[in-house]
């Protein structure tokens, strides 16, 4: 190896940074898995406003109107998915069925999130039978 190539050799700091980033990625994934357990309520927000709060256990399809147009959210078998959306890239639809976490459609400003905080998330419901 010439001295010129040696100058570009990976340094100790490079390795530390790589290890740190890998560690950060793995721990944050674990953190999310732990912190976001499967929730009981599906919340649908449009442009920052809560439009629906529905129990995940009851199958239902709802339509919401975002700034770009109509989006369809389906709840089935304790899972949620974005069925249709007017955005360009359709990331939200490709995300498929989720049991926890959230589906976020940035262009249409629709956020579908699953949460399960007791005593919250019952707004907009007439009643729940269990």
């Amino acid at each position: 190896m010439s001295s010129r190539e040696k100058k570009h050799k990976v340094t100790f700091a490079d390795k530390v940074l790589t290890a740190l980033l890998a560690f950060l990625t793995i721990t944050s994934f674990i953190f999310i898995k732990e912190v976001m357990p499967q929730g009981s309520d599906v919340k649908i927000e449009v442009a920052g406003k809560l439009e629906y709060s529905l129990p995940i256990s009851i199958d239902k399809t709802v339509e919401v109107n975002g700034p770009l147009g109509k989006a369809i959210v389906e709840i089935k078998d304790n899972r949620v998915s974005m069925k249709d959306a007017p955005c360009n890239n359709k990331i939200c639809i490709h995300q498929g069925w989720i049991r926890n976490g959230a589906i976020i459609c940035l262009p249409n400003r629709v956020i579908v999130s699953i949460s399960g905080l007791p005593g919250k998330g019952d707004e907009g419901l007439d009643g729940i039978t269990r």
Binding site: R4, A13, T25, S28, I32, M36, G48
Partner: protein, 169 residues
């Protein structure tokens, strides 16, 4: 600015633009996960010619790139601008103050990390003011950024070695 610098910036910007255009053609399951190939050019510009030319190349790339891809002044433009400028400044700061600390590999990782941090921040301001959403996306971005940053860093290293070889002979 010297005339020679202008030529260099023009040439390097066009390389960066070409890489960005190429990247837009690569099908990806998630559109905002991109390899950021044009960062290779930013990196070698920074390494060989300094921060100011690197910043110029980034600005030209973001501006012309958005005009070519039709995203000028759209949300994607601001995300790209914030990411590009922040990562260039971050890499420039590290390279200026600690020139021996990182190789091109580490610089590339720094750039990728700050690119993603800036994009998350702008996305937060532009779209959703909800911290949970970003907690969810951040690990994916950091992980992907580390991977693509590593690949870009290796590519930049090869390029710089070859350029220096060519400069010697």
């Amino acid at each position: 600015m010297e005339l020679q610098d202008k030529y260099r910036i023009a040439l390097l910007s066009s390389y960066a633009l070409a890489l960005q255009g190429l990247e837009a053609l690569i099908p990806s399951p998630v559109p905002w996960l991109k390899p950021g190939l044009s960062n290779i050019i930013t990196l070698i510009t920074l390494y060989l010619y300094g921060l100011r030319p690197a910043l110029m190349v980034t600005l030209v790339r973001v501006l012309l790139g958005s005009l070519l891809l039709g995203t000028f002044l759209g949300p994607a433009f601001f995300l790209s601008l914030a990411g590009g400028v922040t990562s260039t400044l971050a890499m420039g700061a590290v390279f200026t103050f600690f020139p021996r600390l990182f190789s091109l590999f580490g610089l590339s990782l720094t750039g990728a990390l700050f690119h993603n941090i800036a994009q998350l921040f702008v996305a937060y301001l532009l779209f959703v003011q909800r911290i949970e959403a970003f907690v969810l996306v951040a690990p994916v971005l950091i992980g992907a950024g580390t991977l693509t940053g590593a690949i870009n860093g290796i590519a930049a290293r090869y390029l710089v070695v070859e350029i220096e070889k060519a400069g010697d002979s």
